[in-house]
Symmetry: C2
Subunit: 329 residues, 2 copies
């Protein structure tokens, strides 16, 4: 156990240190250098071993908000012992860039670690899009992390998932062109939600028959999707949505270039990132592989708190055990 652990100073979850750094990074797609703004949040003591936590495309640096079950004193990402670092994804295209890839987010994180004088992260934890960023970071900056914990992400997107995202982006473009941006974001989000959940969950929740409403037939599931879509449209920018959706389709790492300790978690019912693709990545890298059964599908990382918490704790524990001989030497 590292020295930092002997005098824990509990921190209150929900009152992170918030900050902004600026850095110049080379865009991975065209190699065009641009200054970017990186907004971060830190939970726990700044000098404790750092765990970087990254979620889906709509997640924010406020990790304690969207992953409250796992970040805080006594939780799997224990802020008495670790400093949990979150950051907002780059989502505004710098001039001269055609897109923002997960490798660009990794470059931003690398610059952020520089700016915060964190030589090496204890772990990167990334779920969904955050998993793509974690894998890109692991490929490009292996010397800057001890291990990566990746949930519900493979070495590249599946063409079916890409197809469904491309349709969402078509909608966003059409919304821009024809002036129905908010509706386009809501519809795109509704489509995304169908990929985040499973058949079984929808069957359980929306079993009712269609009902007539003002001359139309409405299905139970329609009201839910509309409400979720509209809620998202109120808080999320259409351009950021398009950039981050495309970024997922620009994700690609070479498994044979991943040499860091890697833990992979798949969900059997995930419609977006097939379990088989994650399993293939595990085989190619020698990563630990865990498969969870959950009707929440791709969203399991947000919903299956008990199982996800156990997995996070077990992975971190296993890494500590493997590193202990080196630490005591």
């Amino acid at each position: 156990m590292s020295a930092n652990r002997t005098e824990p100073r509990p921190c209150t979850n929900g009152t992170p240190e918030l900050g902004v750094r600026h850095a110049v990074i080379d865009g991975a797609l065209e190699g065009v250098a641009s200054e970017v703004e990186i907004r971060f949040a830190r939970y726990g003591r700044a000098d404790a071993p750092c765990i970087v936590v990254m979620g889906g495309i709509s997640a924010s640096r406020h990790v304690g908000d969207w992953w409250a079950a796992h970040v805080g004193p006594g939780k799997a990402l224990d802020t008495r012992y670790y400093c949990v670092l979150g950051f907002d994804y780059l989502s505004v295209l710098p001039a001269g860039w055609s897109g923002i890839s997960p490798h660009d987010q990794a470059a931003a994180l690398n610059a952020l670690l520089d700016a915060l004088a964190i030589e090496r992260a204890h772990a990167l934890v990334g779920a969904s899009y955050g998993g793509a960023v974690a894998l890109a970071f692991t490929e490009r900056y292996p010397e800057r992390l001890d291990s990566a914990l990746v949930l519900s992400m493979a070495a590249r997107p599946s063409p079916m998932a890409s197809a469904l995202r491309a349709l969402q982006r078509d909608l966003l473009r059409l919304g821009d062109d024809l002036g129905f941006q908010a509706e386009a974001v809501a519809m795109a989000r509704a489509l995304a939600i169908t990929t985040y959940r499973s058949d079984a969950e929808f069957s359980r929740r929306f079993a009712g028959s269609p009902e007539r409403q003002g001359g139309c037939w409405r299905l139970p599931v329609e009201g839910y999707l509309r409400a979720q879509g509209e809620r998202f449209a109120r808080r999320f920018d259409a351009d950021a949505y398009r950039v981050l959706s495309e970024s997922l389709d620009l994700h690609q790492v070479d498994p044979h270039r991943l040499h860091t300790a890697l833990h992979l978690l798949a969900v059997d019912q995930d419609r977006l990132v097939p379990r088989a693709d994650i399993q293939a990545l595990a085989r190619a890298t020698g990563a630990s592989f865990t498969c969870l059964a959950s009707d929440y599908g791709h969203d399991a990382f947000l919903k299956e708190s008990a199982a996800i918490g156990d997995w996070l704790a077990a992975c971190l524990q296993q890494d500590l055990r493997m590193r202990r001989p080196a630490l005591s030497a």
Copy 2:
């Protein structure tokens, strides 16, 4: 073997008798009577035992066109022995109707059988939407058919499939409201196609990386979906699409009211009609159940000609065997 079979008169596939009948039917949803036009095609001798063949929402009465592998002399639906009957689905809302349900299509078929003086169909063969119509007909007019062969359809739609169709209809409505009908139909069809095929098929066909095209990143799968969508938009009417899409979500039969000989075929990789739902229908009705493994998913009924042909032939053969004692008595 029935008397019709002793003197086969081969018919040429592709030159059906075409006809139109008119009938007054009571709409299943509001009970409002309306006159409808029913366009049909007959392949084979009109006095041979009749097999009604019904496909997906975009299928037509020209069964010999879209199911050429199975309809004709020497094929599973052998026009030397059977008269194969196809009809165009009702797709224009009669005044006072809020929708057209599969039970309405069944009522139209019932009226068509009256008009053609066909007392009883030897079999109904329905795939996808046609399966819903076959089940509705079996429920309402059990005295008018000997058996039903249903491919890739369950007792009701799964809420996930309904969600994805509701999004397609939202698109069509928006296209109407904002004047981009053709693009809306193309996008809705592209979305539908993702539900008709499987992850595995897309992964095999569209494995390439994104490429820059005029400042945008384009995925291999996008070109395919766009071309398919646009092709469909040129030939298919937006209103008919909306009516038939909704009709699928109005589909519902009570398994305990299905007493006719029933054969069900499911496809393991079907994203639209889960195998489990078809299996549940088989259990509730005592139907024969066959599960096919095919990366074509829901579209397997159009693509897996060998397996589907074998299944059709086996089902028809089995029904003949079961009926023979009665026929010779």
